[in-house]
Structure formats: structure tokens, C-alpha cells
């Protein structure tokens, strides 16, 4: 059954050179094909280290990382892993290589040695998938942050990956850019069945995932569906993480003696719950 996992972390630890404490210690986790998993944690919690382990940019100090069935320890498999597990980084400016959008999208294909006549169609369909076709001939520095990140996504998409790892891909964007990029990844996850590992410190973004892993001080402290994870309001506050405002309100009402049900995440959830609490007759119909 473990063979079916897209990603498998087996008791993984990673210590940076010259660092006293491990950045990640004894983490075990798995990601199923087609899953959208969010990794939530503070800066320095070890979540970015985790991202880099998944792409064989780092090799674990202890334990094993298996990506699409390939062990990242085996040097000869590095390119097999990287073409299957693409990665987008935080700073939109620092990951675009070429001076023209479509050439940047082709960069990965050129590295893989894809024949020239196959390249353009793949680049074009990747740009269409992130809705950036009209910018194919633009200069990257003229685009907005959200658009640049979508170009980075297209560059990975052209390589036809099974997994996309987004390492705080929205941390430097404005709200509309954040929405653009998150929605793009959700669409790719739904339509193409691409597995997504979404690393973030934004609780709102984690709330949209199928499953949330919370890391703190290099350890995995919570895991479950967003509703399960965010219901642990006290634990999250202890970790100085944000709690969705409606979940927090639900907890406050519960503390005031109201029998609020667990699993409140959105404004809609809360409005329904208030209906249920205040007008049992109405919600029964």
C-alpha cells in the first residue's frame, strides 16, 4: 500500500551543516496521488526544509524520502525525481531564468532534452493551463507577482509532473495574486489530478486543502482535515498559529456555554450554525 503513495517520508530528520539542532526531526508522513496537502507552520519551523527534501535538493540526514517510488538518496535518480516533482519558490523574481515568458516555460524542457518540435506545443498548453497564453512573448519583469508565479507553475507543468510543491509561493504576493496562484493550483489538482504539496503560513490557504500537516520546531504536531486541525483552537494558539476567525468565534461561543458544533471553518458554516442554535424550527425544515 505504501507503494501507492506519491510521497513517503519515513522517520526523516535533517540537520543543516554547522547547525546544532535538526531543522526537521523524525517526521513520518505520506501523500496519496491526487491529494492537495497543506503544510502549515512558522518561518523556521522546518516546513521549507521539508519542501527541499521532496525535490532531492536536500538529502535527509536520517530516514528516507520516497518520491513517486524513487528514493532521493540514489543520486542517479535525481533527475527522474525532479521532473516528476516540480517546485515553485517564494520569490517570484528569483526563479525566472529567461527574458521572454515562453522561453522560460521551455527552460525545463530544454534541460530534459525534449526534441525541438515537441517543445512549443507543450509550452503553449502549459501557458493555457495557467491562463497566461496572451503573455507568451512578454518580458517577465513587466508582469505582476501573481502572473510571475503562474509562469513558474507553467514551467513545471510543461515537464508533465505528478507532483507540484509550492514553497510559500504566495508569501510575497498581494491578496489578488495569492488567490490567482492558489486557485491555479487547485484547478490543476482537480482537472489533471496533479498532487499538490502547499507549504504556507497562511491559515486561510491551508483551510482549502484536503489535509493539513502542522509542523513546529521541526516536528509534525498535528495532522488531519482542515476542520479537524483548526478545531484544536487552544493547541494552535499555543503554537502561535492563526485560527480561522469563524473557528475562533465558534470556540468563544462554546466557552460562553453555547453548544456550537465542531468543524466550523467559513462564514457560511457559522451562519448555518447560528441558525441551528437560534431557530431549531427553521433548520429542521
Amino acid at each position: 500500500m505504501q507503494q501507492d503513495m506519491r510521497i513517503l517520508l519515513e522517520d526523516v530528520s535533517y540537520t543543516y551543516e554547522e547547525a546544532a539542532a535538526p531543522a526537521l526531526s523524525h517526521v513520518s508522513a505520506s501523500v496519496r496521488p491526487g491529494e492537495f496537502v497543506a503544510v502549515l507552520g512558522h518561518n523556521g519551523s522546518g516546513k521549507s526544509t521539508m519542501a527541499k527534501l521532496l525535490n532531492a535538493l536536500y538529502i535527509p540526514t536520517e530516514g528516507n524520502v520516497i518520491v513517486c517510488g524513487y528514493d532521493t538518496r540514489k543520486e542517479e535518480l535525481v533527475w527522474e525525481i525532479r521532473r516528476r516533482a516540480g517546485m515553485i519558490f517564494q520569490n517570484p523574481d528569483n526563479q525566472i531564468v529567461a527574458t521572454v515568458v515562453k522561453e522560460d516555460v521551455a527552460f525545463g524542457l530544454e534541460n530534459l532534452g525534449v526534441p525541438t518540435d515537441e517543445m512549443l506545443p507543450r509550452v503553449e498548453s502549459a501557458l493555457a493551463a495557467v491562463r497566461m497564453s496572451q503573455y507568451a512573448d512578454s518580458a517577465p519583469h513587466m508582469l505582476s507577482g501573481g502572473q510571475k508565479q503562474r509562469i513558474a507553475v507553467a514551467g513545471i507543468l510543461a515537464m508533465e509532473p505528478s507532483i507540484i510543491i509550492a514553497d510559500e509561493a504566495t508569501a510575497m504576493l498581494d491578496p489578488s495574486g495569492q488567490r490567482e496562484v492558489l486557485e491555479t493550483l487547485h484547478a490543476l489538482n482537480r482537472q489533471k489530478g496533479i498532487t499538490v504539496v502547499w507549504i504556507t503560513h497562511f491559515m486561510e490557504e491551508a483551510a482549502t486543502a484536503d489535509r493539513v500537516l502542522v509542523v513546529s520546531d521541526g516536528e509534525m504536531v498535528l495532522t488531519g482535515t482542515p476542520r479537524e486541525v483548526f478545531d484544536q483552537v487552544d493547541r494552535l494558539r499555543e503554537l502561535h498559529l492563526d485560527v480561522p476567525p469563524m473557528t475562533a468565534l465558534a470556540a468563544d461561543l462554546r466557552a460562553a456555554g453555547l453548544p456550537v458544533q465542531p468543524g466550523i471553518l467559513t462564514v457560511e458554516d457559522m451562519a448555518k450554525e447560528v441558525d441551528r442554535l437560534l431557530c431549531p424550527s427553521k433548520s429542521a425544515t
Binding site: 518561518n43 489578488s176 468565534l249 460562553a256 453555547l258 462564514v267
Partner: protein
């Protein structure tokens, strides 16, 4: 210190074919002691606006009056006026350059030509404001610190000039919740204890709801709305039409009102919603249907 902006217009690349209007006839008054939140999309003109307030950009037309003095008037010491308005840019940690935290924070006061003792006092004051322990951090290299700490050093570098008005362009961008809370708490203290007038550009409606005494909503180079957070967040339709959100609590308030619950239209703090829901629960315990059908 009050700031008055009169008919401010700013065009980028003036005279060329690429000329764009970034600010279009903006008039505003900022009173002493206000905590102003500036909201708007990227490209709405908010960054252009704040860069005018300390003279980094010159208006294409219009005036900026600081305590009644025209910032770009003849016979006015622009440099002296500018120093009274501290400006913290986006990602200010990228401007750090000195070997030690203390030296970097001293850069501003040194440019003001202060004495050594005075500079030292300013550095201590500023580090205290941003909650960085002097003995622990003063002699450290700023490049050894965490992202959140670096940002606080950069803000201290502006506070050390003891500005009467502090302007911050997205001071919490890119920080995690812990880092963000530290900055916001620090700004709250500055406003309450030091009575510094603060202008903060932010995308976070929740941060605004927590801190601002007045909001200015910018759209397409104009002031689209202004008022207390309560007044602005109550106009949810208008905010949505500008492509902006309101805090979750305000959204809930609207959703409940649409369902027919008896709530004031202008709630936006979670505590308020809690009180009102508890009140409704008590008064409605007889099972009264709020919708009069």
C-alpha cells in the same frame, strides 16, 4: 503634526507616451494622533501617495502641507520637514547594511547630525520600541537575525529619527503570524504610549480592524472611501465592488442580517458578534422565529 494634501496629482513618466496617472486630484487631511489604515489594490496609488508625504516624490500638481508649511514651497527646509515624517518601505530589511544592529539604527540619527551621546540614546530608545533587547542585539550583525527581527531593526532605524508621523508600507508582508503580531503590537504601543501619528498601508482587513482609527480606501488613484473602520466595513457592497474584502466578522454580520436576525449593520469585531449572538440566544430562547413570514 497635521498633514494636509490638496489636489495632489501625480503622473509617472511625465511627458512621454507611457505617462500614467498614479494619483488623481487627491485631497486629504491627517490629524495629529490618528492611526490611519490605507487600503487598496496594487496599482491603486497608495504607495505613490505615501512616498509623496515625505517628499521622495514630487507632485505633478497640488500641494502637501505639513503643519501648514508647503513641503515643496520656496523658503521651506524640505529636508528638515521630511525628517519629521518617517517612512518604512515594503520589506525594509533589504535596506540594512551596517556591521552591527546598533550602527544600522544609528544611520538616520547620524545623518541628522546628532551628538554621539544623543545617537546612542536614540538607538536604545528605538530598540526598546521594537522590543529588541539592547544588550543582546546591539552588537550583532543584522544579517544573522531572523526575517522578523531584521524587519524590526529596519523599523527601529526609522524610529530612531524620532518622527512625529510614521508611515509604513505593508509592514507585515511576508511575515508569519508570530512575526506579524509582534509588529502590530509594537505599532499599537507606539500609537497609544508615544502618541505617534501612524499611517499604515496594508492588505489585511483584520489588521486594520484591530488598529486603525480611520480608513482610507484608494482605487484608481482616487480616494474611494474614507471613515472609521465601522463606517467603511458596513458598506460591504461598495468594498466588494472595489474588489476588496471586509473582515470575516462583518461578513457574518451581513449573512445573519440577510437571514433576518436583528443585528446592527455595522458590526465588524468578532467580540461584538459573540455578544450579539449570545443576546439573541437569550431573547430567542422561547423559539421565536426571527423571520416574520
Amino acid at each position: 503634526m497635521s498633514i494636509e494634501i490638496r489636489h495632489l496629482t501625480h503622473r509617472y513618466s511625465e511627458g512621454s507616451v507611457f505617462s500614467t496617472v498614479a494619483l488623481d486630484d487627491v485631497s486629504l487631511t491627517i490629524q495629529d494622533g490618528e492611526f490611519i489604515g490605507i487600503i487598496g489594490h496594487t496599482g491603486s496609488g497608495k504607495s505613490t501617495l505615501v512616498q509623496h508625504l515625505n517628499g521622495l516624490l514630487k507632485p505633478s500638481s497640488g500641494q502637501i502641507l505639513i503643519d501648514g508649511q508647503d513641503l515643496h514651497g520656496e523658503h521651506v527646509n524640505t529636508r528638515a520637514l521630511r525628517q519629521r515624517i518617517g517612512l518604512v518601505f515594503q520589506y525594509p530589511e533589504y535596506q540594512l547594511f551596517e556591521e552591527t544592529v546598533a550602527k544600522d539604527i544609528a544611520f538616520g540619527p547620524r545623518n541628522q547630525g546628532l551628538s554621539k551621546a544623543e545617537i546612542d540614546g536614540r538607538v536604545r530608545y528605538a530598540m526598546d520600541c521594537v522590543h529588541l533587547d539592547y544588550d543582546r542585539f546591539a552588537e550583532k550583525s543584522p544579517f544573522e537575525l531572523s526575517g522578523g527581527q531584521m524587519r524590526r531593526v529596519a523599523i527601529a532605524g526609522v524610529l530612531a529619527m524620532r518622527p512625529s508621523v510614521l508611515i509604513l508600507d505593508e509592514p507585515t508582508a511576508g511575515l508569519d503570524p508570530r512575526g506579524r503580531d509582534r509588529i502590530l503590537t509594537m505599532l499599537e504601543e507606539l500609537h497609544q504610549k508615544e502618541h505617534t501619528t501612524i499611517l499604515m498601508v496594508s492588505h489585511s482587513m483584520d489588521d486594520m480592524a484591530r488598529l486603525a482609527t480611520r480608513l482610507i480606501v484608494m482605487a484608481s488613484g482616487k480616494v474611494a472611501m474614507t471613515g472609521t473602520p465601522r463606517e467603511v466595513f458596513a458598506q460591504q457592497e461598495k468594498m466588494l465592488s472595489l474588489g476588496l474584502d471586509v473582515p470575516a466578522a462583518a461578513q457574518l454580520c451581513r449573512a445573519l442580517r440577510e437571514k433576518g436576525y436583528d443585528l446592527p449593520a455595522d458590526l465588524y469585531r468578532p467580540e461584538e458578534l459573540r455578544e450579539h449572538i449570545l443576546r439573541l440566544r437569550q431573547s430567542g430562547s422561547e423559539g421565536r422565529d426571527p423571520v416574520a413570514e
